[in-house]
């Protein structure tokens, strides 16, 4: 049901994004985390190129899109690493994690469940895949505009805003373009027809890559609950995707990039900022995936910059979001970014009450309870920034829904997956081992030990 072109061009993305191995300690990550990082980097790079070319009115082609990431990837493969004394293969024989004291290449198996987390993870992904193949999860929005825009952009080789703005078939021209660009990328060299099956099958792909990244990053950082949390993420989000029928929509890509950013910011070993380049790329991709992604990025950047004073982290995401907004402003695509109705306090209480009900996620709040148990069995105070971010995003949703007719039942099931993801990472961070100063660490950039970084 899926075309070879879609598969091959999708598989090309991690190859084109493999220049990410030059960033920080990426080379030391397990393969399970490196592949998603390379995929995220490759996809963002191609999408950024497509956007820049479109902004200048240039039609893209393989000859314009491929050389830059390809040259970077080849160059990165030939240059010796500089960070953390990691060998080109990502191995550091004999090097012991400054965090856990364990040889990190041996990995960390939970003393209780071992690799048992793979069972629900694989089962959940297979169930999601099966439901997608049954044609049971295809979103109406995918057929109406996500896929259609992708096909159109793929045919015209540029962001065809004249088409998306046309009042005869208004296609949310203000929605960020990453997912349609991904679809357009998979049409390169084809006959102008989009692979609609490929689009919906990207939902289990994004979820699988996300779960692998969560486990791989956690394993790298010595987080012993990484496996169970990856299983929790995969199973709960597979269920949400089935219930909300999001196949082909932007949500799976949004959650994937959000997860990569949170992994990069949370799962460090030598120093808190060692994966900042990956976090910056993922956050920039988030801003180009969905409108609410901009709010997620604003909250995460604010909390990160306040706690770590790492302002450079925000450079790429802010430039990306600003460029998209400027492009939208120039071409009249900013509709969604401007509130349609005035906020009215009189609707606040009933909407908040309804939102609290929706937070149960039709599972009696059990996803939150599960993460809370994991959180409370670790150093719970470390989860506070993530809980604040989760609350901040929920408050943003409340402000959006505070209307006479909030229609939470339409979209809350989808939008509340982002604050839940932030809460999951509160639990993950609670189990990160304390950062200790390590005189054997070969990282020249390892910052000084501070009580704040340990707590």
């Amino acid at each position: 049901v899926i075309g070879a072109r879609f598969v091959l061009l999708t598989l090309a993305l991690p190859l084109l994004g493999s220049y990410a191995r030059r960033f920080g300690n990426v080379r030391a990550l397990p393969l399970a985390a490196r592949i998603p990082v390379y995929f995220a980097t490759g996809l963002f790079t191609i999408v950024a190129e497509m956007f820049v070319l479109s902004a200048f009115g240039v039609r893209w082609s393989a000859a314009l899109l491929v050389p830059l990431p390809l040259v970077l990837a080849i160059a990165a493969g030939y240059r010796l690493p500089v960070a953390s004394g990691v060998s080109p293969e990502g191995k550091a024989p004999g090097h012991r994690s400054p965090v856990t004291g364990n040889a990190f290449l041996t990995g960390h198996r939970s003393p209780v469940t071992g690799n048992a987390f793979l069972i629900p993870t694989a089962a959940a992904l297979l169930i999601l895949l099966s439901a997608v193949l049954a044609g049971a999860l295809t979103s109406g929005d995918y057929v109406i505009f996500w896929g259609t825009k992708g096909q159109r952009f793929g045919q015209t080789h540029m962001l065809d805003y004249a088409f998306t703005l046309d009042p005869n078939h208004y296609m949310h021209p203000d929605y960020p373009p990453l997912v349609p660009f991904f679809y357009a990328w998979t049409m390169l060299g084809g006959d102008g027809a989009f692979d609609w099956w490929g689009g919906i099958l990207s939902a289990p792909m994004f979820l699988g890559l996300g779960a692998a990244a969560m486990w791989g990053f956690g394993r790298y950082a010595g987080i012993r609950v990484a496996g169970p949390m990856a299983a929790l993420f995969a199973s709960s989000y597979a269920l949400f995707y089935i219930r909300n029928a999001v196949a082909g929509n932007a949500e799976p890509a949004l959650h994937f990039f959000e997860l990569i950013a949170l992994c990069a910011l949370t799962c460090w070993r030598d120093r808190p900022n060692e994966h900042n380049a990956i976090a910056a790329i993922a956050l920039a991709a988030v801003t180009l995936t969905k409108v609410e992604g901009g709010v997620f990025v604003a909250i995460v950047l604010t909390l990160t910059c306040l706690s770590r004073a790492r302002w450079k982290l925000g450079f790429l995401p802010v430039i990306t979001l600003s460029s998209w907004l400027l492009f939208g402003y120039v071409h009249g695509l900013t509709d969604t970014y401007v509130p349609r109705d005035d906020l009215s306090i009189k609707y606040l209480v009933p909407t908040a009450r309804e939102l609290v009900k929706e937070l149960a996620l039709r599972l009696h709040y059990t996803p939150w309870i599960a993460a809370a148990i994991v959180l409370l069995t670790g150093r719970a105070r470390r989860g506070i920034p993530y809980i604040l971010a989760s609350l901040g995003f929920t408050a943003f949703l409340l402000s959006v829904y505070t209307r006479a007719e909030p229609h939470l039942d339409w979209s809350a099931g989808r939008t509340l997956m982002t604050p839940l993801l932030l809460f999951y990472f509160a639990a993950v961070n609670a189990h990160r081992a304390a950062h200790r100063p390590d005189v054997t660490s070969s990282s020249p950039a390892a910052g000084p030990y501070t009580p704040a970084s340990a707590r």
Binding site: V112, G147, S236, I242, A370, A427
Partner: protein, 137 residues
């Protein structure tokens, strides 16, 4: 650590079981004929609609002009046009108003849920869900 791992595993297993149950409730494993064969509130019509689009896309010449609409539900013109743009990649989808007098009529018309009452067009293909009409020269 032990409690966290066990809790994570149990909840993950529980969500997986619920996901399996909901998948089975929607028909369970199968290879669908179209991407929407088991989606939407009316999957049977959704499947038939996409199949008619697929037939039309295969049989109409590349570059032919075409419009699509529901004769008994003209309020859905915009929605129908959005779907047509996606499902007819080789043809040029034009606005429904091109059927009005004084405008260049499209080469083909796709109707859903009702016949086309226009003497300029001849019936070319029909399914349960709709029909394809070709403009007579």
């Amino acid at each position: 650590m032990r409690i966290a791992s066990i809790a994570g595993w149990i909840f993950a297993a529980a969500f997986t079981v619920i996901a399996a149950r909901e998948h089975l409730a929607r028909g369970g494993p199968m290879l669908a004929r179209t991407i929407a064969s088991n989606s939407s509130n009316n999957p049977r019509d959704a499947e038939a609609t996409l199949q008619l689009y697929a037939y039309a896309s295969r049989t109409m010449p590349k570059g032919a002009t075409v419009t699509a609409f529901k004769p008994r539900s003209r309020g859905e013109d915009m929605m129908t046009a959005r779907i047509a743009h996606g499902q007819l990649p080789y043809q040029r989808v034009v606005p429904q108003r091109d059927l009005e007098p004084g405008r260049t009529p499209p080469d083909y018309v796709l109707t859903f849920g009702g016949p086309l009452d226009d003497p300029r067009y001849a019936h070319a293909y029909e399914t349960r869900i709709g029909a394809l009409w070709k403009r007579m020269q």
